[in-house]
C-alpha cells in the first residue's frame, strides 16, 4: 500500500486583496492583452509571502506558494499551521471548490471532502429527505445512500426524529445527522476540516473513533486539518506543517506537532494599529515578562483611543496555548472602567503567569462596554515565549495529558 494517492506539484494560489469589482473590466482587459502578447499576468508577478500581520505592497497575496508533497495511499495526514497559513486554501483546492493559480495536483481515487457538515441541508425537509439530498451533494448515488441509510441514522442516534423537518432539530442533533452522512461516504480519500469541533463530548469521541477507523481499518487516505494538536496526534500518522503558504515541515505526526509548537509561532511583542476607527479601540499593545519562574508576570501596556463619545469600557486579555485553545482569561478592570479622553489613553495591566510551562503562547485583547457590547477584539495579537520551567520536574513541553500549567501546590503532611 505505498502507492501515491495525492501528489501536488508547484501548487500555488494567489488571492486579490481589498475590493474586487472596482476596475475589474480594465484589469481584465489588461490581463487579456498581456496574455495575447505571451507575457506574464501583470497582476500576479510580485511574489510576496502571505504574512497577514504585516502590510504588503501589492494587492495580490500568495496564499499557497510552490507546494510540493506526496501522500501515500492509506496514510492519515494532519495538515497544521497557524491561521492564514494556507490550510483552508489547500483543502479548497483539493475539494475542487476553487482552482489553483498555477501548478497541479494529481491523484487516484474518489475524493470526499468535508469542509463543513450539513452543506445543502434544507430546513423544511425531514431528516430522511436531507440525508438523501446531502448525500447526493457529497457525491453519493441514491442506491448507495439507501444501502447505508440505517447505518447513518443509527450513527447519528436520531431515529425518532427522522421524519421531522430538520428546522425543529436541536443544533446538536442537526450536526450529528450531518456528520453521520459525511462519515458514511464511500471514498478512497477523505478530506476533513475541523468539523470535529461539534456536538457534545460523547459524539466528538464517536467522530474521532470513526475517523480513526476510516484511516486505519479501511485503509483510506485521510487529510485532516485541525488546530487541535491532540486530535492530530491521535488520528494521524504523518503531518504537513504550513507556514505562510509554504511547506514548513513534512514528517510523522508527532514530529510535525513538535515542529509547529516550537517554531511555528514567532515572538511578537509590540503591535500598532495602522488605521484609526471611530469606535473605541486599542491603538498600541506591547508586553514585557517580569520576574523569575515560578512567579512570572506578564505586564501588558496598551493605549486606547476613541473617535467619539462612548461609554467607559473594560479591557480583557486572554492567553492561548499552542493547541489554539484559551488557557485563561484576565479581566483586570471591571471597576474602575477605562475612560476615553481623546487619543492615547495609556494603561498598564499586570497578569500573573504562575506555573506556565515552557512554550509559545499567544495573547488576545478585547475591549468593550459590556459583555454584549464589544468595541474591539484582537485575536492572536501578540506572541510570547516562556523558556524556563516553573519547577525542575516540569521541563518538557505541552502534552495533552499534562496540560499547560503546573499548579502551585505543596505537601502539608
Amino acid at each position: 500500500m505505498s502507492e501515491i494517492a495525492i501528489k501536488a506539484e508547484n501548487l500555488s494560489k494567489a488571492y486579490q486583496l481589498g475590493d474586487i469589482g472596482t476596475g475589474t473590466i480594465s484589469r481584465d482587459l489588461e490581463r487579456w492583452y498581456a496574455r495575447i502578447r505571451g507575457k506574464e499576468d501583470p497582476f500576479l508577478r510580485i511574489g510576496e509571502t502571505n504574512d497577514r500581520s504585516s502590510k504588503g505592497t501589492s494587492d495580490i497575496v500568495w496564499s499557497l506558494r510552490d507546494l510540493n508533497f506526496e501522500i501515500k495511499q492509506g496514510d492519515a495526514v494532519g495538515v497544521i499551521g497557524r491561521n492564514g497559513a494556507g490550510k483552508s486554501t489547500l483543502l479548497k483546492i483539493l475539494s475542487k471548490v476553487t482552482a489553483p493559480t498555477t501548478g497541479r495536483i494529481t491523484g487516484k481515487g474518489r475524493i470526499a471532502s468535508l469542509l463543513e457538515v450539513g452543506t445543502g441541508f434544507h430546513p423544511e425537509l425531514s431528516g430522511k429527505e436531507n440525508i438523501f439530498l446531502n448525500g447526493a451533494i457529497l457525491g453519493m448515488r441514491k442506491h448507495e445512500i439507501k444501502r447505508k441509510f440505517d447505518e447513518i441514522v443509527d450513527f447519528a442516534g436520531i431515529e425518532r426524529y427522522i421524519d421531522t423537518p430538520v428546522k425543529r432539530y436541536s443544533s446538536g442533533m442537526y450536526v450529528r445527522l450531518a456528520f453521520a452522512v459525511a462519515a458514511h461516504l464511500e471514498s478512497e480519500i477523505l478530506i476533513v476540516d475541523e468539523v470535529l469541533a461539534v456536538g457534545d463530548a460523547e459524539f466528538q469521541k464517536k467522530c474521532l473513533g470513526k475517523m480513526g477507523e476510516v484511516s486505519k481499518g479501511e485503509g483510506r487516505t485521510v487529510l485532516f486539518v485541525s488546530h487541535n494538536m491532540d486530535a492530530v496526534n491521535a488520528l494521524c500518522k504523518s503531518g504537513i506543517v504550513l507556514e505562510n503558504g509554504v511547506v514548513g515541515f513534512i514528517g510523522d505526526a508527532g514530529a510535525s506537532v513538535d515542529y509547529y509548537q516550537s517554531n511555528g509561532a514567532a515572538v511578537k511583542d509590540t503591535w500598532k494599529r495602522e488605521k484609526e476607527t471611530l469606535q473605541p479601540h486599542f491603538s498600541e499593545i506591547s508586553y514585557e515578562i517580569l520576574g523569575k519562574q515560578p512567579e512570572l508576570t506578564l505586564r501588558v501596556s496598551f493605549k486606547t483611543t476613541s473617535g467619539g463619545n462612548f461609554p467607559p469600557a473594560m479591557a480583557v486579555f486572554g492567553i492561548k496555548g499552542s493547541t489554539g485553545g484559551t488557557i485563561m482569561e484576565a479581566i483586570p478592570s471591571i471597576q474602575p472602567y477605562l475612560q476615553f479622553k481623546g487619543k492615547a489613553n495609556h494603561h498598564v495591566c499586570e497578569i500573573e503567569l504562575n506555573g506556565f510551562i515552557p512554550g509559545t503562547y499567544t495573547l488576545y485583547a478585547w475591549l468593550g462596554a459590556s459583555e454584549a457590547e464589544g468595541y474591539d477584539w484582537l485575536d492572536d495579537v501578540l506572541t510570547f515565549e516562556i523558556n524556563d520551567a516553573p519547577t525542575p520536574e516540569r521541563t518538557f513541553p505541552y502534552s495533552p495529558r499534562t496540560g499547560f500549567i503546573v499548579a502551585n501546590a505543596k505537601l502539608i503532611t
Partner: protein
C-alpha cells in the same frame, strides 16, 4: 472498498470545450433530489400552495386583455383576447423564470458551492426542471381556458398539427433560458451590475417579444415606422417560439420551418457559449463572489 480507482487531476484550467456533461450525468440523482426539494419546500411555506401558480397568469391575462385589447386595440390575430394573451404569458413565463433564476445561481448558492464540489451545471438544470412543474400547472390552466372558449363560448379555433412540435418548442425555450441565464450568472460573479439589468431587462424583453401582439402585425408596423429595427422582433428567437406555440395550440400564428431551424441553431449557440463560460467561471468564482 470501491473498485473504480480513477485518476484525476486538479489544474488551473481545463480545456475550453470540455462541457463536463458526463460528470453531470454521474450526479443525476442529485438533480432529481434538488427538483424535489424545490417542489416540496415551495408547498411547505405557503397557505394557498399551488394556487399561486394560477393566480399570476390569471391576473396578468385580465390586465393585458383590458389594456392591450380593449384600450389600445392591438390585434390578437382573430383569437379571443384572453386566450391569445394567456398562450403568450404561459410560454413567456417559463422562459423568463428559467432565465432570471439561473442568472443568480452562483450568487444564491455561494454557500454550498464554497464548501463542496459537484458539477455546477446541476444547479441551473435543476432550476429549469423545477420550473417545468410550474409551467405544467399553468399549461393546464391554459387548456382549461381553451376548453371554456371552445365549448361554452363557441369560439372557433382549432389546434393545428404543430401541436406535435410542442415538446420540442418547450425544450428550446428551456435551453434558451438556461443558456442565457448561465451566461449572465457567470458574468454577474464579477460584474454585479448585470443582476440589476436582468431584473428590468427581462420585463423590457417581453415587449420585444410576441407576447402581447402577433409577430406579423408587429413586423408590418415596425417596417413602416422603424425599418432598421424590425429585425429585432422578426429574429427574436423567443418571438418565433411563442408564435409556434400559439400556432400549435390555437391554430393561428406565424410558423415556418426556416424560422424554427434558425431558432434551433441560435439556441444551440447560446447554450454552448453559456455552458463554456459557466464552466470557466465555476472554477474560481468562489474567490470573487
Amino acid at each position: 472498498m470501491i473498485k473504480d480507482q480513477e485518476n484525476w487531476e486538479i489544474a488551473p484550467s481545463s480545456s475550453l470545450f470540455d462541457l463536463k456533461l458526463k460528470e453531470a450525468w454521474a450526479y443525476r440523482d442529485l438533480l432529481w433530489l434538488l427538483v424535489r426539494r424545490d417542489f416540496v419546500s415551495f408547498y411547505k411555506q405557503t397557505v394557498l400552495g399551488p394556487l399561486w401558480f394560477f393566480i399570476q397568469p390569471l391576473f396578468t391575462t385580465v390586465i393585458f386583455t383590458f389594456i392591450f385589447k380593449q384600450l389600445a386595440g392591438i390585434s390578437t390575430d382573430g383569437l379571443p383576447g384572453p386566450l391569445f394573451y394567456m398562450a403568450g404569458i404561459t410560454a413567456w413565463n417559463y422562459f423568463a423564470d428559467c432565465l432570471t433564476k439561473t442568472s443568480t445561481v452562483f450568487k444564491d448558492n455561494a454557500s454550498i458551492f464554497g464548501k463542496v464540489y459537484f458539477p455546477r451545471l446541476i444547479m441551473p438544470l435543476s432550476i429549469v426542471l423545477s420550473n417545468l412543474v410550474r409551467f405544467g400547472v399553468q399549461l393546464i390552466l391554459f387548456v382549461m381556458f381553451m376548453a371554456y372558449y371552445y365549448f361554452v363560448r363557441g369560439e372557433s379555433f382549432s389546434p393545428s398539427w404543430a401541436i406535435l412540435l410542442f415538446p420540442y418548442i418547450l425544450l428550446l425555450m428551456a435551453l434558451l433560458g438556461l443558456g442565457l441565464g448561465m451566461l449572465i450568472s457567470a458574468m454577474t460573479t464579477k460584474y454585479r451590475d448585470l443582476s440589476f439589468l436582468v431584473g428590468f431587462g427581462v420585463q423590457l424583453l417581453m415587449y420585444a417579444t410576441a407576447v402581447i401582439y402577433p409577430i406579423t402585425t408587429a413586423v408590418e408596423k415596425a417596417t413602416e415606422k422603424f425599418p432598421r429595427l424590425s429585425w429585432l422582433i422578426e429574429y427574436n428567437p423567443m418571438s418565433i417560439l411563442i408564435e409556434a406555440f400559439r400556432f400549435g395550440f390555437l391554430g393561428k400564428g406565424a410558423f415556418s420551418w426556416a424560422s424554427l431551424g434558425y431558432t434551433s441553431v441560435a439556441t444551440l449557440i447560446v447554450l454552448v457559449v453559456g455552458i463554456v463560460v459557466f464552466n470557466k467561471v465555476e472554477k474560481t468564482f468562489i474567490d470573487t463572489v
